[in-house]
C-alpha cells in the first residue's frame, strides 16, 4: 500500500482506538502477522517456480505482498517502544 494511504488508515485506526472501537495492537500480534506474510512470500515464490505460466500474475501478487510486508514492518518499528510503555503504540 502506498505510504499516504497507509498513513490515512493509521489515522483512522488511532481515532477508533481512542473511541474504544478498535483493539490495541501489540508487537507480538504484528510479529505473528509478519511471520505469516513471510511464509506467504515463500509460498508464492515456490508457486512461481512450479507454475511458470502463472509467473506474471504471481509477480503482481508478490508486489502487493511486499508492500504489505513493508508497511507491517514499519508499523512494528513504531510499536517497538510500546513493549515497555503501556501508554504508547497503536
Amino acid at each position: 500500500m502506498a505510504f499516504g494511504k497507509f498513513r490515512d488508515a493509521m489515522d483512522r485506526h488511532l481515532k477508533r482506538l481512542r473511541k474504544g472501537e478498535a483493539h490495541k495492537i501489540k508487537p507480538a500480534d504484528l510479529d505473528k502477522m509478519i511471520t505469516k506474510l513471510e511464509k506467504r512470500r515463500q509460498d508464492l515464490l515456490a508457486e512461481a517456480q512450479a507454475k511458470p505460466q502463472k509467473a506474471e500474475r504471481i509477480t503482481h501478487k508478490q508486489a502487493a505482498l511486499d508492500e504489505m510486508l513493508a508497511n507491517a514492518r514499519s508499523l512494528r518499528a513504531r510499536l517497538e517502544p510500546a513493549a515497555d510503555d503501556p501508554d504508547s503504540g497503536a
Partner: protein, 601 residues
C-alpha cells in the same frame, strides 16, 4: 382461534393465581417463592451468558467430537449453570448453524437431562437443611454492587450472584409456605394411589413444568412439599417423571421456529424423555426398590424422602440413557427420515435462524456460514454464466487451457437460478443482520456483522454484473470469432482465476490464511486489466478487431471487473480473521487502491 389460545391460557393462569393470592397467605408465600426462584434462574442464565463471553460456545465447539464427549459437555455445563434450557438453546443454535452434528446435539441434550438432576440433589441436600435465606442476603448485596459495574464480565458475575441469591430466597419462601400449610392442613389427604395416582401426578408434574417453563421449579416445589409431608412419596415420584416430560413441551414450542435440524433435536428430546417416562412408570416398583437399596447403602435416612426423590430422579434419567444410547444410530436414522432436509432446488438459509439466541459469537459464526453458502451459490452461477464449471476450474492445473476447452453452452436460466439460489438467501441474510444489529453487541461484533452483511450484498453485485456480460461472452466463445474470442477467453480466465483463488483460501487452514491474500488478487486483477487493455489497443491499431466489437468488449471488461471485485469483497468479509486484533491489523494493512507511490521505506 390459534392466536387466542395463549391469551386464554394467560388469563386462566392470572385468574387462578389472583384467587389463590386472595384466599391464602400461605399460597402467597409459595407463589412469591416460585416467582423469586424463576426470576433468579433467569438472572443466573443471563449472568452466565454475559460472564462467559462465549466460553460455553467455545467449549461446545471443541467438546462434541464424539457422543460421550457431547454427553459429558451436556452434564458438566448443566451442572455448572443449573440451566438445561440455556445448554439446550446453545445446542440448538450450534446445530441450526451447522457447527455440530445432530448426534452431538442429541448427546448434549441427553447429558443436560442427567445434569439437571444435580439440581434435585442441591435442593434436597442443601436447600432444605440450612438457613438458605441467610446466604441469600450477602449474595444479593454483593451481586447488586457488581451488576452496576462497567465491564460485561463483572455485570455478568453480579447477575449470577443475584440470581443465586434470589433462588435461595425463593427456596426459603416456598419452604416457609409449606411449613405454615403443614400446621393447618394435610394435603396428603389428596393423595392418589395405584396406577391412577401415577398417571394423575405425572400429568400434574408435566403441566406445572409447562406453566412455569422450568422443571427445576417443579422439582423444588415437590421436594419442599415432600419434606413438609404435604405430598406422598409415591405421588412425588410421579411428579418428577412428569417434570421431565414437561420440559420437552417447552423444547417443542421453541423448535417450532427452528430449522429442520432444530426440529429433529426437539423430536429426539421428546422421544428420549417420553420413552424414559414410560419406562420409569412401567418399572416404578423395581425402581423404587432400587432407590431404597441405594439410599440405604449411601446412609440416607428411611424418612429422608427428599433425598430419596433425588436418587430416584437421577436413577430414572440414567435408565433413560441406558435405554437410548445403544439405540442412537436408529434414533438418528428415524429423525432424518421423519424430518427431511429441505429440497436443494431452492436455497433456504441453513445456518441463520430466528431462534439462534443472542450470543454474539454464535450469531457471527452462523452468519459467516450462511454468507459462505450464498457465496458458493453465487460463485457457481458466475462460472456457469460464462460456460465454465467451478469444479472443473478447481481441479484444473492449467486455467487458460481449461477455459479454452470449455466453450459449449451450459443451459443456464440465470434469472431463474438467481431467484432460486441467491435472492431469497440474500434477503434472509439482510433480514437476519438487520434484526441482530439492534442487539447491544460489542463494537467489534457490530462491525463484523456489518462486514458480513456487506459481503452478502457483494455476492449479489457479482451475479448482477456477470449477467450483463453473459450474452456477449457466450456469443464469442461458443463459436470462434478470432481475436475477439481470444480477448473474451482472457476475461473468462481472469474470472476463473479469482474463483479458484477464493476456493483455495477456503481450503487453506484458517491459521495459514489471511484476508490480506485478497489484496494480492486485487493487485493482480488490476494489472491483468491493464494488460488486456493494451492488447485491445494493439488489435484495434492492427485492424484485427472492429470498433463495434472493441466497444462491446470494453463494456464487458468493465462488468467483469465489477463482478470480480465484488467476488473479492465477499471473500474479504468471509476470510477476515476471527480474532479482533488480527482483523484490525488486516484492515490496517489492506490497500485501499493501487497507486504509483512507494511503500514505506
Amino acid at each position: 382461534m390459534k392466536h387466542l389460545t395463549p391469551h386464554i391460557q394467560l388469563a386462566t393462569i392470572l385468574v387462578v393465581l389472583t384467587l389463590g393470592l386472595w384466599q391464602s397467605a400461605d399460597f402467597q408465600q409459595i407463589a412469591a417463592g416460585i416467582a423469586l426462584f424463576l426470576l433468579g434462574m433467569t438472572m443466573l442464565e443471563d449472568g452466565f451468558k454475559a460472564m462467559g463471553g462465549g466460553l460455553l460456545e467455545r467449549l461446545l465447539a471443541h467438546s462434541t467430537g464424539s457422543l460421550p464427549r457431547a454427553m459429558g459437555f451436556g452434564i458438566a455445563a448443566t451442572t455448572v449453570t443449573q440451566s438445561s434450557s440455556l445448554v439446550s438453546v446453545i445446542a440448538i443454535s450450534f446445530l441450526s448453524a451447522g457447527l455440530i452434528t445432530l448426534q452431538a446435539g442429541i448427546g448434549i441434550i441427553f447429558g443436560a437431562n442427567l445434569g439437571t438432576t444435580t439440581g434435585a440433589w442441591l435442593m434436597a441436600g442443601v436447600g432444605l437443611r440450612v438457613d438458605i435465606a441467610g446466604y441469600a442476603m450477602p449474595l444479593l448485596a454483593l451481586g447488586a454492587v457488581l451488576m452496576f459495574q462497567r465491564g460485561a464480565g463483572l455485570r455478568g458475575a453480579g447477575r449470577v450472584l443475584v440470581g443465586i441469591g434470589l433462588v435461595f430466597l425463593g427456596i426459603a419462601f416456598i419452604k416457609d409456605g409449606f411449613d405454615a400449610i403443614s400446621a393447618r392442613f394435610d394435603l396428603t389427604a389428596l393423595a392418589l394411589t395405584g396406577v391412577l395416582g401415577l398417571l394423575v401426578y405425572t400429568l400434574i408434574g408435566a403441566t406445572a413444568t409447562v406453566v412455569m417453563q422450568s422443571s427445576h421449579a417443579t422439582m423444588l416445589l415437590v421436594i419442599t412439599a415432600l419434606s413438609a409431608g404435604q405430598i406422598s412419596y409415591d405421588n412425588a415420584l410421579a411428579v418428577a417423571i412428569g417434570a421431565n416430560m414437561g420440559t420437552t413441551v417447552t423444547a417443542l414450542i421453541g423448535a417450532s421456529q427452528a430449522n429442520y435440524q432444530g426440529k429433529r433435536l426437539a423430536l429426539g428430546h421428546l422421544i428420549f424423555n417420553g420413552l424414559t417416562a414410560v419406562a420409569a412408570l412401567a418399572l416404578i416398583v423395581p425402581l423404587r426398590v432400587l432407590v431404597d437399596l441405594i439410599s440405604d447403602l449411601a446412609g440416607i435416612g428411611a424418612q429422608d424422602f427428599a433425598l430419596r426423590l433425588a436418587v430416584f430422579h437421577t436413577l430414572f434419567n440414567l435408565l433413560g440413557l441406558g435405554l437410548m444410547v445403544p439405540q442412537m444410530p436408529r434414533l438418528l436414522r428415524f429423525l432424518e427420515r421423519r424430518i427431511a432436509a429441505p429440497s436443494p432446488a431452492v436455497s433456504r438459509p441453513r445456518h441463520i435462524q430466528a431462534d439462534l439466541g443472542d450470543f454474539p459469537a454464535t450469531l457471527l459464526q452462523a452468519l459467516r456460514a450462511e454468507l459462505r453458502h450464498l457465496y458458493e451459490n453465487g460463485a457457481a452461477l458466475c462460472a456457469e454464466a460464462i460456460n465454465l464449471r467451478l469444479a472443473d476450474l478447481v481441479q484444473s492445473g492449467d486455467l487458460p487451457l481449461t477455459v479454452a476447452r470449455n466453450r459449449d453452452a451450459i443451459g443456464l436460466d440465470l434469472d431463474r437460478r438467481y431467484n432460486d439460489k441467491v435472492k431469497a438467501l440474500h434477503a434472509a441474510i439482510i433480514d437476519f443482520a438487520a434484526s441482530k444489529s439492534s442487539l447491544p453487541l460489542p463494537d467489534s461484533a457490530a462491525r463484523r456483522l456489518q462486514e458480513l452483511r456487506d459481503g452478502a450484498n457483494a455476492v449479489v453485485r457479482a451475479v448482477k454484473a456477470i449477467k450483463h456480460l453473459q450474452r456477449n461472452t457466450r456469443r464469442f466463445t461458443e463459436r470462434d470469432h478470432g481475436a475477439v474470442s481470444t480477448l473474451y477467453d482472457s476475461l473468462r480466465t481472469e474470472i476463473a482465476s479469482i474463483l479458484v483463488a477464493i476456493q483455495t483460501l477456503e481450503a487453506t487452514e484458517p491459521a495459514q490464511r489471511s484476508s490480506l491474500w485478497i489484496a494480492e488478487e486485487r493487485r493482480a486483477l488490476r494489472k491483468g486489466a491493464d494488460e488486456v487493455n493494451a492488447r485491445l489497443e494493439t488489435l484495434l491499431r492492427a485492424r484485427r478487431i472492429s470498433a463495434a466489437d472493441a466497444t462491446s468488449f470494453l463494456n464487458d471488461a468493465h462488468n467483469a471487473q465489477e463482478a470480480m471485485n465484488a467476488l473479492l469483497d465477499a471473500a474479504e468479509a468471509l476470510y477476515r480473521d476471527p480474532d479482533d486484533t488480527v482483523a484490525e491489523i488486516e484492515r490496517l494493512l489492506t490497500p485501499e487502491d493501487d497507486t504509483e507511490e512507494q511503500p514505506v521505506p
